[in-house]
Amino acid sequence: MTKYNGRGVAAGVAVGRAVVAARDAHDVRYRLAASGVERERQRLRSARDRTRQQLEEISSRVSRTVGAAQASIFAAQLLMLDDPLLVSRADVLIRTERINADWALQRAIQELHDVFAREGDAWLSERVGDLADVSGRLQRNLRPDRDPLVDLIDELDPPVIVVARELPASVAAQLDWTRVRGLICEVGSPTHHTVILARSLGVPVVIGLSGASQAITPGQLLAIDGTSGEVVVEPTDETQERWMQRAELARAALAAFDDLSGKVAVTADGERVILEANLEIADEIARVIDAGAEGIGLYRSEFLLDAGHPDGAAEEVQTAVYRGLLSAMAPRPVTIRTFDAGEERGTGAWRTGGHRDRFGLRGIRAGLQHDDRFRAQIRALIRASASGTLRILLPFVTSSDEMRVARHMIVEIAREAGLSDQLAGIPIGAMIEVPAAALTTDALARNADFLSVGTNDLIQYTLAVDRTDERLAGHYEPMAPAVLRLLRLVAVGARAEKRPLSVCGEMAADPLLVALLVGLGFRQFSMTPSSIPVIKRALLTIDSRAARLLARRAVRASSAQMVHELLIPVADAMHAHATGLKGN
């Protein structure tokens, strides 16, 4: 039994067998049941046959067009394909070590590379290149159509815990999450789409476990706690039983929450709090309603631009998606954030805000410059608005004037499309996610019908911390007094202009931070659906007057650590309440 500690970013406890996806999920490793051996050998043979066919085709084409001498290099690759040290060696590994074909092939290749490296001399590069060519082709041919991880998880018996260096959102979107009970990543951040997705599906996630994809062997039994960040490899029977019980308790506690599901959220002293849901995928709407959300606080529309939706940005497709959302939630409000994506320079292709876009042309900036896309989205939103209660949220606003210009533009778009009447009743809000917006909230509020705080970005920009940078893992700190002071400014500014104010970043899903936010004056939160019952219960332990005193001390604290300490009694109260519930 070995214990690791990472960072828990999606609550929950799970026990399951490890599936390891090293290097961007293209190198997948797992151990086979006896019955799986023949299938894997067959896959390897098929991959070899496909590879041979491709090499022969290339070879004859090159021979015809360039000459036999150049084609002979493919003859060498064909010989490598039949070499006892490559495919045959992998075949032996599948049989003797019962590992999947991808893993076996990787091992055989690695063995060869090791020897090459040991024997290393100046003119090895040509040979290594040929070997790399042929082995890369073989690996691709093992799974010609799909991402290996997707197929793999379909083949395995659940429950499965995926261990990856990093799980790309594109892969995550294809996974069968009913089989994946937990996720462990070496890097990543709680704001990574994969993590957000896992959370929205109630799957526990631990990140920041450097070297996990090497240290954890495929097939090992894992216990993972997505709250504490604990990972136990090959737990003893006793430990396993304890963790199973914890998983069971978590489920039981969730069942107990059902008692609250029909009730609105209130603090211990009866202050009304509105809890809404963040929505990633339109299909998740049933979960949102089940969780007791009073509306959608944030729908990230740029998901419509992802690879899986090639026509996602088409105006009529958008209209249909928005209509579906609005009518499913009606009469509850749905807040749709306009595309927060940058444009790939020169290609016209859109992409969601990645690393280089952090300070770039994104959000409303991109919307104002690339107005065709923005115009189409605004028209689609207005056309869909009759199906329910729509709120339009503009991302990445940095000044009151920018908001004014954007609103003016929206009015113009509506007028040109003959949609002015429909636009009249739709609130248009500003996302507060950069310090510039937070510092000028009162001015911004005069040009916005409502405000929504995106804490994830606000924290990154305020503290100058890139959350995807592992080296800075400890520096991202929602409880930093600087962040809390900005949030206080936002709350005060919104109140002065009597504008509805919501928090839709991750902070809203953390019960302790919600206590602080309530103390700072926030009364509306939007979070991943599975967090709603958790927050609803936590609120019952929070006295708004005590929270206000707490917040007042927190903003004057000298460090995040001090704020943590201030929150210890709050955590104790929540724990007592939770255990009290359990006793019933």
Binding site: M80, D83, L85, E126, L131
Partner: protein
């Protein structure tokens, strides 16, 4: 079993294309073929094995064959080596 020594004479040594030709010739014989330098021997019908020998110009290759056509095999492979694996000069 028959054994012959043959010097590697072509400038590129036993590189990928040369090794391919070697394996091609070795494959015509039924005998088991071992090739080596110093104390290291590899399968003469394995291109990767041959590449791993990293036999540069000036290396002396040991060619061994064991089987029904061992004499002809060693003769053909030693000759190929001496001709610089038919590399264009």
């Amino acid at each position: 079993m028959v054994e012959r020594h043959a010097p590697v004479v072509n400038p590129l040594g036993l590189h990928a294309r040369a090794a391919a030709r070697f394996v091609h010739v070795a494959g015509r014989f039924a005998s088991q073929i071992q090739v080596g330098r110093g104390t290291r021997m590899v399968d003469g019908k394995s291109i990767l094995g041959l590449l791993l020998l990293a036999a540069a110009r000036g290396t002396t290759l040991i060619i061994r064959a064991d089987g029904p056509d061992e004499v002809a095999a060693v003769e053909a492979l030693a000759s190929l080596t001496a001709r610089g694996f038919e590399d264009p000069a």
